[in-house]
Subunit: 170 residues, 6 copies
């Protein structure tokens, strides 16, 4: 059995890792979709798809389970989205999502959709982690060590801080 889980992973954090590991117990292979792949360099979506893929693959390397990581860009045409995802991924049997739209689109196509269990949602949250980075608060304990390394390699903390500078409109 193969399952799909789609997220933005901005960045990939310990809550994500726990979810992925639990799904890995239930299925044979996981397809990890990297959503909004075309987005980067904003406060909400600071990391490119390539950077997010690197975070995920470096983190999961040490766990033995089989998985695929696939970037998926937004197409702004909801009625095509399921077909779009299907064309980019191996066939899958069920989807894990907490997003009402994704659930609706897949259920209308006859897929089984499950809700992943969340842990410590207040801290294990991309929004919270980006907020902490911006405010020089502790954040590194909320993500896997490999994600810290990737963010360091691309100077991600400073990217977020620079992007938050007030514009100076000409």
């Amino acid at each position: 059995m193969r399952a799909l889980v789609v997220g933005r992973w901005q960045p990939f954090h310990n809550g994500h890792l726990t979810i992925i590991k639990e799904i890995a117990n239930d299925v044979d292979e996981i397809i990890i979709g990297v959503g909004s792949a075309q987005k980067s360099h904003t406060l909400n979506d600071p990391f490119t798809a390539g950077e997010r893929i690197m975070m995920i693959i470096k983190t999961l390397k040490k766990f033995g389970f089989p998985y695929y990581v696939i970037p998926i860009r937004d197409i702004d045409f909801n009625a095509l989205w399921v077909s779009y995802v299907e064309s980019l991924t191996p066939p899958f049997d069920l989807i894990y999502t907490g997003n009402a739209l994704v659930r609706e689109l897949f259920e209308e196509r006859g897929y089984v959709v499950k809700k992943p269990k969340l842990y410590n949602r207040k801290e294990y949250s991309g929004t919270e982690i980006r907020r902490r980075i911006l405010n020089n608060e502790e954040w590194k304990h909320l993500v896997p060590g490999e994600v810290v390394e990737v963010i360091d390699e691309i100077d991600g903390e400073n990217r977020i801080k620079r992007l938050s500078k007030k514009d100076y409109l000409i």
Copy 2:
């Protein structure tokens, strides 16, 4: 004389029907543009272009007047929009719209633009009808019977309710 009227028809309701019938008295043929054709499965735009076309055609079948129903997607390039509409439709002589942008774009191209008369705007309103569906209030008397049938066939009430579920972000 041929007239164009563009709306989103989310869903097609009795106010729409009254407008269409009045325009039908004034012109030989009506072109009904289904705007934002690429949108569906959101609370604001729950129905696909195909579903909306079906509502309109089933409703108008019993009236004898000639009309065309054409899906028109957003192109996010206002200066091209009039040409885009012209390329998809038979030639037309005047436009009925209450939208300031549509009026401006067509008037700059030399078209005659008229305002349709509205009836009972508080209830005959897509926003109001979607709100009632969401809140389990009466709505079926606000739309033609054929629209009720289409919404039933596609399980539209539940689609809207499911799309309103709070997200559960991973």
Copy 3:
């Protein structure tokens, strides 16, 4: 039962009309997709979607059967095409096509695909009709009278002749 038939209708001719009328005998409603809707003003695709829609609707007006005419643009992403068509049209039960790709895409999605019977393929052919227009040969007996009227209204014969002029490259 509702059937879909997709063509380019460049222009709509007597062979097309015979096919549509035969399908109308077999099903309750026909959806006529106007393919390559974004194309016009070339020797292969001289007429806009709007012009082709006008040809079809004017021709079919006198027959009583119910139908929909929907423009469908090319999306150059075969794996999305079936979903794209589904989003723009009412639900349908079977497809009539002689195109191998369209057949494959719909059959992989579980649709029933039928081949329409063709009549006098040598003359009832868009290619042949465009060739005759270009060479000042007889063509008007190959299309319905309403199509002659539309082509006259838009000065279509001269459009085709002008488009065939040799380029004079700067």
Copy 4:
């Protein structure tokens, strides 16, 4: 040395002109990018790219310095934007911008980014000028005379006023 400066120029005003003239003192050639080129006919972006280009070229004609004016549409893919700009313009050595995102994208690619000095930001502001046009207040002293001429030629004051009319939704 060649410098790039990107703005929306909705419309081109005296503050813009001062900045351009100062940059012209520092470099050999200026490339003036007309951003959001696809936008027009909204209250925030009333003028087409063609109209904005005309404002700039007519204004700068009397100054002797060499420059290029290039329309640049939004591509909604930040990681591609620098390459996109590079493909449309002559090579440049530095960028003038006050926008945090533009700064970040170009600095990550190794470009030198400078902040232009602003003058009288409260009045020399596109937002303020559009607000004044809408409210029938004095605005013509805030833009070069050539810009007044262009806005008059296209009846720009009335376009803005008409676009602000309340919608009358069908």
Copy 5:
């Protein structure tokens, strides 16, 4: 009076220059559209829009007449093309083109279209110049000196030769 002339200018050569100078005698301002702006790095279209703009502007600097240079990308939707060009350029009164499609599209919109006079078409031809570059034959006398400089600056001769290398498919 303002005239539009659209070409690909791959590269800008002496035949182009003669045409532009003759048009400059007849009109007040010339708009030079750089067509297929998105294309580059192929044997048919080796130069980016930015490189072609640089060729044109450097060459025309020494002639006193006023002109605009505007990149125009292909949109593969003929019925929108005139509006697209209009949105990117100042208003114009006539078009110079030898291309049958461009002539047809503009004439259908009511524009006056003229044919530029060509000189020495066998040698003053982009195709011929690219062929000579590829085969190490003389070509520099066929283009303005400024174009030679631009092609040298970007190492254009070698780009063309490298692009012609036989593929070695994996």
Copy 6:
């Protein structure tokens, strides 16, 4: 050191596998780009990106080396392509390609480009394998066993045969 190799992998065959294994000896990590990701269901590009990714990942599972598989769609804008690839992948140090255009684009951006060594090019070729499938000749010994399994699972042999059927144009 990380290397990028881009191919269409229609299908992934023994020649591809040999190349990948050799590159794996030279670098720490390989990024395998799946080019023309949007294409499928044609005789030249029969398999979807998802199907090709499955072929690659299933085949490489038994070799220990680290790699990424990333779908990359065509963007028809050569000057953006390097940035596009960079945005979707982890950073890389060199590229393996035999394609002249890919080589040129990456070398102009300062990348090191290498040619992979090819083996038995006549038989280890996607074109040859697709030809054999179409003609009922032996082909399974030319691809890894896992690829045979994927093609069987999706009924790929019959898809290719069905796509080759002569069209029967309406």
